[in-house]
Amino acid sequence: MADTLLELKGVSIRRGIDIVLSDFNLSLAGGQCIILHGENGSGKSTVIEAAARLLPMEKGEVRHHLNMVHDSEGRRKNPKFPFGLTLQSNGLVPSQTIQQHLETVCALSQFECDLTPILESYGLSHRRHDKIAHLSGGQQRKVSVISGLIPAMLSEQPRLILLDEPDSGLDDYSIEILKTHINQLRSSGHGILIATHDERLFECATSLHDLNEETKHEPKACEPWKPIGKQANNSFLATKMGWKYNASTLISIQRNWLASLLVIGTLLALVEPLSIKDHDVLVMGFVLAPAFTIGLVGDSVTSILQEQRAIDWWRAQVQSIPNSNIESFLSGCILTIFSMQVFLQIFDWRIVLIGGIIGFVTTFSLRFLQLSTLRLARTNAVFIRLLTPILILPWAMVVEYCVSF
């Protein structure tokens, strides 16, 4: 008998004020394709997101490959094996190219491969070096669907694939290709869970589930998929990806650095550095203000990941999402050197180091606050930055400490 790839055991989930899923059970084995169907609001996406460990549960637990990955106590464990995920809202980073995004998905699966045949099949190979933001809605959807299928396409071992409305926005030709891929992957032993309204995809199902009842279905026989991946080891992926996102978008320069340089400019407009050289605390405050500003702007990588729910896609896959830890430390050091030259006309490596630490700790704290409101429906509308003054007192203490150098 095939291995069980996904189990939802007695799962109850609330969304808004309603209980969307109550004591829900589902089991998906390798070689199965279960299609969830039903009316809008019936809970299809909730099942997919619960299986991807994205939703807190009132009761129950989620297992991947028989190992608990999430439960109602809030425990979240990384799945032992990578899984494919296509969210309803794509989960892409618009400033990346198709190639970069799909290489990231391959790296998360600990594989590398030639993506050309897959991109060609969806008519995207000529666009592989285009940024996702420059693609049409349908093309973006294709990239998102390919991202969901890749972990299974690369692996000989059975993998779990979760697809939330993969057909949405796809043309007829692409849907035919998608059906072929789903059938091939299922035939080669992968397990696929799909939420959809599109009856054309029902042909791929081994069972249809309306969230109350599961009915068996006989899909067409098909040639199994031949895996195309080569094993590759990828460590520190979240840190590397944070660095890559920063390098490709220069978002830290655009947001954090610009704010810091504006602070230095504003301070220079107010006072002449030589006229305050006897006011030690004031001068040191001016020197360390840019590093503090870098952090107060927030983690830029977290902000770009919030577009198209890419942050949720990452949260489903790994425990630690891409971040600007290294950039914030380096930026803090560099801008402190600059402000030290402007206001103190000396170089002290201890102050530079403290500037770097201020940049890192402030960015880290802001990211913590940003991430703590992720469950809210309108994360950008919540006034989380009202709590940032908590950082002023420790910063002022560090400034006073640095005066003693």
């Binding site: 808004g16 004020i17 409101t373 809210l376 429906a377 509308a381 989380i384 009202l386 007192l393």
Partner: protein
């Protein structure tokens, strides 16, 4: 006729506060001209201390409500959380605003970013502001209730820190006026006005919280009815 306890308490508290203000300005003795840089401004004390006291009660209610929601998923706990955050914001702002006015007159600066008491209390007030504004920006649901209650729960850590701040790190804010040893003794008239102020503020926020909890309950009932009409229940 049905007696509305919230309104009665709110009105009584308001009258008590007005009486406190009158006594503070007209009856309470003046302080020594040597002890204060601005002796006249010291009368703000009769507003500042009771409002801070009421704010601490409101923060405690916020904590209790948040804990009840997080651990028991109690709708009553959520109503307490809403009422506590609103009362915390109102009293916190009154204490911060009066403190800034007094500080400007007495110290020559309305705020000191290095004073632990000022900063922790200010942060508690900002937390209450975050909870009130944040709640209004989000649709009501389990996600928003869980998130805001978690903030209410952890934010309470600041209350004991604020309370002991002037005992351990007295930078600019003076030490406790009651229970702070020999230095903290008040004359009997001053103590009486302060007590009246504290009682009045307590009654006022109790009335406010009862009314707020009732309004939240009505909102919840309305939402249930709307969902019923949408066919979602």
């Amino acid at each position: 006729m049905r007696v509305r306890h919230g309104e009665v308490l709110l009105a009584s508290g308001f009258i008590g506060i007005m009486a406190t203000l009158f006594l503070a300005l007209k009856w309470a003795p003046s302080v020594s001209i040597d002890a204060f840089a601005s002796p006249a401004a010291q009368r703000i004390f009769y507003w500042h201390v009771p409002s801070a006291w009421a704010a601490f009660i409101a923060f405690s209610v916020l904590f209790a409500g948040s804990a009840l929601w997080v651990f028991k998923r109690s709708p009553f706990g959520w109503r307490l959380h809403v009422a506590g955050s609103e009362a915390s914001l109102a009293c916190g702002l009154m204490a911060v605003w009066s403190g800034c006015v007094w500080g400007a007159a007495e110290w020559g600066t309305p705020w000191d970013w290095t004073d632990v008491r000022l900063n922790t209390f200010g942060l508690l007030t900002l937390l209450a502001l975050f909870l009130v504004l944040g709640r209004q920006s989000q649709p009501d649901g389990i996600e928003s209730r869980d998130t805001f209650s978690t903030f209410g729960l952890y934010g309470f850590v600041l209350v004991p820190i604020t309370y002991i701040a002037t005992r351990f790190w007295q930078i600019r804010h003076p030490g406790p006026v009651i229970g702070g040893g020999e230095d903290s003794s008040l004359s009997s008239e001053m103590g009486l006005v302060l007590l009246l102020g504290a009682i009045s503020f307590t009654i006022l926020i109790a009335g406010h919280m009862i009314m707020s909890a009732r309004i939240t309950e009505y909102e919840q009932r309305l939402e249930r009815l709307q969902n019923k009409m949408d066919g979602r229940i």
